[in-house]
Symmetry: C2
Subunit: 276 residues, 2 copies
């Protein structure tokens, strides 16, 4: 999917919500455990109930890998289900990969071609030749970890290199990568106060923002400091939506939570004069 198409979907749906499909068999409604594929059954119900409220889905691959082949099958079925039934939705494999050249190419093929995701999250530690193989795929997006929402972000990401934080060095360096226009960045909502300085470096790039809700980040702060004229934000919520209830009403309760966020987003988009 092109960035332009993503922006037009945001305007059409009046939403820049991304729903994280982080499925934990210990947290889903008990009645689904009788299904042949409980993870897929859960995702399918959530997707059918929320696709009109969200512009993106983001399965975190760890949750699928944890269940081995069964998990991998559920991931394949989930992405195929979205691409077949709701092709207008942007899909992100939250995989946080990164390896040397030919290995990164293998990962890129796996997520972009075999599975058919629009985007994949990538860790920057190994530098240029670990990121550029992902950028070679047209109409696909590489979402680089910049400033993450967890406490450990302060271990290295905010440390100073040549008078500048590591995450800013990552942002600036990545701008010189080939096809860097296909880069997006992860910036945690728990660190919204950093967004003004981030926007000074990457004024137009899309940011994937986790940490609103369960982790305590504020949607208003994120938008105040991070929104661009073309929106430039995908705000993710996982647990706050998908585990809104764990009985037979789980999908409709998830839709209610997603709808609340969509309504807040619609109002923010109107206030920013992005919508009429």
């Amino acid at each position: 999917m092109t960035t332009q198409k993503l922006i037009s979907e945001i305007k059409r749906k009046q939403s820049f919500l991304c729903i994280g499909l982080d499925v934990d068999l210990n947290k889903i409604p008990k009645h689904l455990l009788d299904e042949e594929d409980p993870i897929f059954a859960f995702n399918k119900a959530i997707i059918d109930a929320t696709h009109h409220l969200t512009v993106a889905y983001k399965p975190n691959t760890a949750f699928y890998e944890a269940y081995g082949i069964k998990g991998w099958k559920a991931l394949e079925k989930t992405i195929t289900y979205i691409n077949t039934n709701y092709p207008e939705v942007f899909t992100i494999a939250d995989a946080k990969r990164g390896d040397i050249g030919n290995t990164s190419t293998m990962y890129a093929k796996a997520f972009f071609e075999d599975l058919g995701f629009d985007a994949v999250t990538v860790a920057p530690y190994m530098g240029k030749d670990s990121v550029e193989p992902f950028l070679k795929f047209s109409e696909k997006h590489t979402i680089l970890l910049a400033l993450t929402s967890n406490e450990g972000a302060y271990d290295f990401q905010t440390k100073i290199i040549d008078g500048k934080e590591v995450y800013k060095t990552v942002l600036e360096t990545s701008k010189s990568y080939q096809n860097s226009e296909q880069l997006m960045y992860v910036v945690g909502a728990t660190k919204a106060e950093y967004l003004t300085e981030i926007r000074a470096i990457i004024p137009h790039s899309f940011l994937l923002v986790p940490g609103v809700g369960a982790q305590g980040g504020s949607l208003n702060d994120v938008c105040k400091y991070g929104m661009t004229e073309q929106v430039g934000l995908l705000v993710n919520s996982s647990r706050g939506i998908i585990y809104a209830a764990n009985d037979e009403t789980f999908a409709s309760k998830a839709a209610t939570k997603a709808s609340n966020l969509q309504a807040q987003m619609q109002s923010i988009l109107k206030d920013a004069s992005i919508l009429n």
Copy 2:
């Protein structure tokens, strides 16, 4: 596997070789493509021919994920085959994972419990709470990326934080993590000149050293600057061994290559008075 057991296996086999099982269907002998599971058939033959010469196997998970469910099955069969037939061999999932707390726990379970690997490689960018979940598993090892063998390592890893390179900050910071005695570190053989300074920070930890052979690193230099009294090194070779030939002699040719490296290692261990 405990570190002590790994050291005693190194002494018994007179080898600190790790063989990288990075299986690419375009590179394996054509006759294997008729097998039901060509990747596993290739690995099984390589393992049967080399297990007495190597102390570790390291499948890079990217190569398996690139083939979807088939690849994941081949990875499961490979690790199960090693654990069943050659339980004395140390196994490393070269996955370069790293995510926030609960997600890292999911990854740790997937690799340590479900698949049964002894170790997994982890990226440090997200800091303490992304690494410590892996360290909670006893007799399991977390191999943190420190200084990698690729060109992109100079993008961030060698940049200076407070008068010290980023990779040294990673080494020092990680020493304060809970159960840090279960940490090992990736240091590329292409950067052997850095090993003296690395050993000043982590004098005893095991290093996983890729980049000897195809990438141009020197085994002698790595040992000169990186070896400890308890060896402290696992030197990896992937392509140089597993793709030694691509006809029906591939496994025996791989064994010859592995045997050459083992002989060099034996001689180095004797010179260092680690073996009698």
